[in-house]
Amino acid sequence: MDEITIQVEFSGISRVMTGESGISISLKEGETVADVVRKLGLKFPKLVGEIIEKDGETLIPSNLFSVNGEKILHETDLGYQPKNGDRLILLSLLAGG
């Protein structure tokens, strides 16, 4: 099965917790954003309980992904299948200020 590579970008507390501005992740064709969340949780355990739910499978509400800064994935869109070269931006959105 073909592999694709995507870039996951961090900002806000995900950048503070990972110490990285982003990483590349390889996915098998057909793998979804839920698989990305799982891989992130394994690579960066600090994210689990803060940005990723303790089950390691889903994002804690108010954290979400944008695909290339355009499409924003609702918390129910974890079945979305990224395409090769996509930028998945992990956002911890705030209101007010």
Partner: protein, 628 residues
């Protein structure tokens, strides 16, 4: 009555007299507190159609239902007058110790009438009211004024709401400041300045009675515990400044007077950079277990030692929006705003209008002549020193600062009349209030929420960016859902602004921020405080009533459908870079969404409120005056 004293204090500055008004429990059930009660007090006490700077425009303060109780983030009050920025309702919120002191002094609200002949500090010492000469306080900054009053009264427990030099000079977008927090946006500082009211100080020594202390304590403990967890870590670690990079990545970060939504220097003025290079500590309002404000310091260069609290909105307005990537200059600009008592958003957006006007050749260096720079200076994007000097001129209303101190609507009107130009096209305002830090061209629901805002385009009064940014709808497209979404999000925000509770707590009740997640706990908190029996649907009504009384105020002041508008740039001038490039909200789209919105509200096509609707909401006297 539990939770309230039942008393409103009235103060007449001209006659130097005071009186007490008692309100019924039914009145409190309708208007609750915060911005809703403050607006209602304004409705009852203003002379309709008055000049905002006339003695007929009252200062109305309304406390929060939870101020002084253990309920987390409930230490807030509302402030309302007719806004000199918009000519409509000016409703603001501020947090911290002032509201708690006022509650302990036994007052649910304060209405200040008339104007004083000499500068005055009103001292509310429980039931005793004193008119104190404030001449010695003139010229002091906001923070310094609070300290000077504490020293003068020899009591470090006295809390004050004050104006700084900007309010004294009647800078139209001056703030009222207490405990380092700002009641901002709508020009309260200028209204206070017009009354020669330098400060209101409070010493409160009484207890606060609640109906069910055990339930209040249990719920407060649970919420506080939750507020130490993942739902607030983003606020605690970086605060709202984290939005700089978030919005930059979505192409929504206002850059160079909203010409673009992507800033090449965003990393250098990001919350992450601030955290790593300038952070001193994170501080909290009174009664808040979260602590989101990032106290930040300049460590090198001409402004070394400058220190103030930084929030996203101040940061976008005075950083990317000015093309400035030097965080030292940004901190200095925000410090000038905070200490002078100026709204940092409007200040930044007015400076960016001046920069664009300079770069387009309408202004020249000659327009910026001042004592410090007799030949003037280049007011270009990215020039931090020019921005700092101009901010100081605004504060003092000197030189070009006199023109700019009225905000972009008036300044552009004057310049265009004088020079035959069209600078109004890049004045980023609607209803006279400058826009907030989310570019609405890439957020269709938010563009509607901004256009219909009762105090102007405001990120705090509408939460209409939520469905756009959270992927609930396609943020680039208009559809039939937007009217109801704008209604629901503004009324949701109005619940928090009326209690008031800081919105940052909204996920700490059950983990879900929506109505189903928050309303049951909020109802429990209200009932345990007051002994009432509010249900889920009563919480919805709090928001609808709060928004309705504000709209009613505007209608009585002459609001028309045409006033619900967007800045010209957001309708005609698309961005050229980034993920949100190419989009605008056209006039056709906006008018279509306004139709949907008025329908969702149950209003007429012209946006007026039917009598029947007002009577249903428990506002028969309002129905009588403005209902159709």
């Amino acid at each position: 009555m539990f939770g309230y004293s039942g008393k409103i204090l009235h103060i007449d500055l001209a006659e130097r007299k005071t009186w007490v008004e008692e309100k019924s429990e039914e009145w409190y059930k309708i208007y609750i507190g915060g911005v809703s009660m403050a607006t209602r007090l304004c409705w009852e006490n203003i002379k309709p159609g008055c000049d905002p700077y006339s003695p007929d425009n009252p200062v109305c303060i309304a406390n929060g239902i939870f101020a002084g109780t253990p309920v987390p983030v409930g230490g807030k009050y509302g402030l309302a007058s007719k806004s000199p920025m918009t000519g409509f309702i000016g409703d603001s919120l501020s947090g911290s110790w002032f509201s708690i002191a006022l509650k302990r002094a036994g007052w649910d609200g304060v209405v200040i009438h008339g104007a004083s002949e000499n500068w005055v500090n009103i001292f509310i010492d429980d039931e005793r009211i004193e008119f104190r000469d404030a001449t010695k306080l003139l010229g002091l900054g906001t923070f310094e004024t609070e300290e000077a009053i504490r020293e003068e009264l020899a009591d470090d427990q006295v809390r004050s709401a004050t104006i700084g030099p900007a309010g004294e000079h009647m800078v139209r977008f001056a703030n009222v400041t207490n405990d380092g927090r700002q009641a901002g946006r709508t020009g309260h500082g200028a209204v206070w300045g017009s009354k020669k009211l330098k400060a209101v100080s409070v010493r409160g020594t009484q207890g606060i009675k609640v109906a069910d202390p055990d339930t209040i304590n249990k719920l407060s403990f649970d919420i506080t515990k939750e507020a130490q967890g993942p739902h607030t870590s983003k606020y605690r670690i970086l605060g709202t400044t984290t939005n700089v990079l978030n919005l930059n990545k979505l192409g929504l970060l206002p850059t160079r007077n909203y010409k673009e939504g992507v800033f090449e220097g965003a990393e250098k003025v990001s919350g992450e950079y601030l955290h790593d290079h300038h952070n001193v500590k994170t501080i909290a309002c009174a009664q808040c277990p979260i602590a989101c404000e990032q106290m930040s310091i300049v460590k090198s260069g001409p402004w070394t030692g400058t220190m103030t609290g930084i929030e996203y909105e101040c940061l976008f307005a005075n950083g990317p929006n000015l093309g400035i990537s030097d965080m030292n200059a940004v901190i200095k600009l925000i410090d000038i705003a905070d200490r002078s008592g100026i709204d940092a958003i409007t200040m930044g957006v007015t400076l960016s209008w001046a920069m664009e006007t300079y770069e387009k050749g309408v202004f020249t260096a000659q327009d910026f002549k001042c004592e410090k720079f007799p030949e003037g200076f280049e007011m270009k994007f990215g020039n931090g020193e020019a921005a700092v000097t101009t901010a100081e001129l605004i504060r003092d209303r000197e030189g070009i600062g006199k023109l700019l101190s009225d905000g972009t609507r008036i300044a552009s009107g004057k310049i265009d009349k004088e020079r035959g130009t069209e600078t109004w096209k890049w004045a980023m305002q609607s209803k006279g209030l400058e826009t907030a830090g989310y570019d609405a061209r890439g957020l269709k629901t938010f563009s509607l929420g901004s256009a219909v805002g009762t105090r102007g385009p405001c990120h705090n009064r509408t939460a209409a960016y939520d469905p756009d940014i959270q992927g609930e709808v396609d943020r680039f497209k208009v559809d039939e859902k937007r009217g109801l979404l704008a209604k629901d999000t503004e009324e949701y925000a109005a619940v928090y602004d009326t209690l008031p509770l800081c919105k940052f707590i909204r996920r700490c009740f059950t983990g879900k921020a929506d109505r189903a997640g928050a309303w049951p706990t909020i109802a429990q908190l209200i009932n345990a405080t007051t002994g009432w029996e509010f249900k889920y649907e009563d919480i919805d009504l709090i928001g609808e009533r709060a928004h309705t009384i504000k709209k009613a105020f505007n209608v009585r002041e002459g609001w028309k459908r045409v006033d619900d508008d967007l800045p010209w740039r957001w309708k005609h001038d698309p961005m050229t870079k980034g993920p949100s490039a190419g989009y605008v909200t056209t006039d056709e789209e906006l008018e279509y969404m306004k139709d949907l919105y008025y329908e969702a509200k149950g209003w007429t096509k012209e946006g007026l409120i039917p009598k029947k609707k007002l009577i249903q909401l428990g506002m028969p006297d309002v129905a009588e005056q403005i209902g159709v």
